[in-house]
Symmetry: C2
Subunit: 327 residues, 2 copies
């Protein structure tokens, strides 16, 4: 049994907990939280919630620590820190800082003889893998990534910070005509506005100036100004009834040419349709935890991404079983 | 530069040759053929065609030998034989014999300190990888593989063996209603007949009994009897004008559940739409040749499948470039 610890018990930590329960070769042995452990109720019976200080004493009880903090401030500190004690896995997704994060985790993990797998999930993660495979097969081609339809938590949070807004759920929606143009192999050049639209469901405070809120959303730089955005004002009851889930997904498409005169077009498409973004991401993290454990058992150490993990390490099945049933 | 040799110059060998020309880090150094070398004209200028006997003397000139023979009789002999001299890559696709083929190649390659990558392509190959990743992420779920729309060469050949048939092109076509049912996450149980239909374009000999040919096709065990098959009789001119390509493709879909009460459904779909089956397969073989070369350089040996290859080995880019641009 691979003994897993979870650090951070928000939506993602809960998703990891659900995933562990589906895998017979692993067990959840501890949850670590910055909150008062007595206030944290988890789902798995018989598992203790510890304060974060307990991590310094549990090296012999946890094989892999899955770190479920945020990329902005938690993971840049936590992942290198705990890679010096544990095999660790995170879902770091700040693209611009991956190189720095990789170097920090690599130094700590190598020194400790541990494995640190960073940037696991679906983007970065499964979408990255599909970009890499498709680029390796079709060097002469173009990449397209579409997100949604799904809830962007970053965009929802940005709207919530507007004066007069009580709650918001923001959906990112790929433009069907753009997806169709890409799938046709016509290799279109697409602007930000042509690829996605944004739709906001907003609960406003009583008496708030709705026209001002709508204008502030639609003109918000980076988040909304470059997109066609629709704003709907709804009640708290409607929010709860119709927008309580965290669905997401999207697709990675590469089109490319082969042949003596590049006369043949190929389309490679990877598509995810996810009812629960955190539970799917948690499921990827758990598969990566298995890989981290095994690779470390074989003597490997240092920072890895999913690019560096031979796929067989992710599966509970043996090489022989995989060749017999999935090849 | 990685020096590639091609053994066997049919459609697949030509596809490999086209792919090598698109990759700046490799060069074609030789083609080996069982035919009279003087009769084999290849596309790449300045590259020599050798008889198969020359292989015993060219170990120092070829880094990876891509073996482009058939799975029925060529590869079971050739791949182990040449794995004792070269890093080799093949597209062995007889599922029932993969275990035996793996063992034979593994023994030869380990003894020689070489790498042998078997069963590369799209199925087995990219489809297998997608089954493995999706199964590792969603252990609670179901797999579906659909092929087509595309030309099945095995089925076309089977029809050509019928008395009175001059030529045939057989298309395998996924049933849209079945694909939609799978994508909905409803987890349907599908019979062979419900998943695919088959369409044959047949050129008959003059005076042949068309009704008899049609009946022989539709009732052929294994190949057609379990499917709804349509037969069209066409002229040689129509065959040449409308059916000279070798398009193919298909999709691998896994649907699975997560959550405390398995209340969330996820759909993972990988889809290929290929104008040229042999050129796409050749492109995968070439990426695997790069991986074989690199893994061998790092001291690895033995038989591998794409399950055993960390994705980064397939790409010409460095780890740093991959993390910066594709993660």
């Amino acid at each position: 049994m691979i003994r897993i610890g979870i650090l951070g018990y928000g939506n993602l930590g809960k998703g990891v907990e659900c995933a562990i329960a589906q895998n017979d070769d692993m067990e959840l042995v501890a949850v670590f939280s910055r909150r008062d452990p007595a206030s944290v109720k988890i789902m798995t019976p018989g598992v203790t919630v510890y304060g974060i200080d307990a991590l310094k004493d549990m090296k012999d009880e946890v094989d892999v620590l899955v770190i479920c903090g945020g990329s902005a401030t938690d993971l840049p500190v936590q992942t290198p820190e705990y890679a010096s004690m544990y095999n660790v896995v995170d879902s770091f997704d700040t693209h611009a800082r991956i190189s720095e994060h990789f170097a920090n985790v690599d130094a700590a993990a190598k020194k400790a003889g541990k494995i640190g797998v960073i940037s696991c999930g679906w983007d970065p993660g499964m979408f990255s893998l599909n970009r890499l495979y498709a680029n390796s097969i079709l060097p002469n081609g173009s990449d397209y990534t579409f997100w949604g339809k799904g809830v962007s938590q970053g965009h929802s949070d940005a709207v919530r910070r507007i004066d007069g807004v009580k709650d918001c759920r923001q959906y990112t929606i790929p433009v069907e005509a753009a997806v169709d143009a890409v799938r046709s192999g016509s290799n279109p050049e697409l602007t930000t506005r042509q690829k996605h639209t944004r739709e906001c469901f907003v609960v406003a405070e009583e008496g708030a100036d709705l026209a001002r809120i709508e204008s502030e959303i639609k003109n918000m730089p980076n988040y909304f100004a470059d997109y066609d955005t629709t704003v709907h004002f709804i009640t708290e009851e409607e929010m709860k009834a119709n927008h309580s889930g965290l669905p997401h997904g999207g697709m990675v498409i590469r089109t490319g040419k082969t042949g003596t005169d590049l006369e043949h077009t190929h389309v490679i498409e990877y598509k995810l349709t996810l009812d629960s973004n955190p539970e799917f991401t948690g499921s990827v993290l758990v598969a990566c935890a298995r890989a981290a454990y095994r690779m470390n058992k074989e003597g490997m150490s240092g920072c890895k991404t999913m690019f560096d993990i031979a796929p067989a390490y992710l599966s509970a099945q043996s090489g022989e079983e995989l060749r017999a049933h999935l090849l």
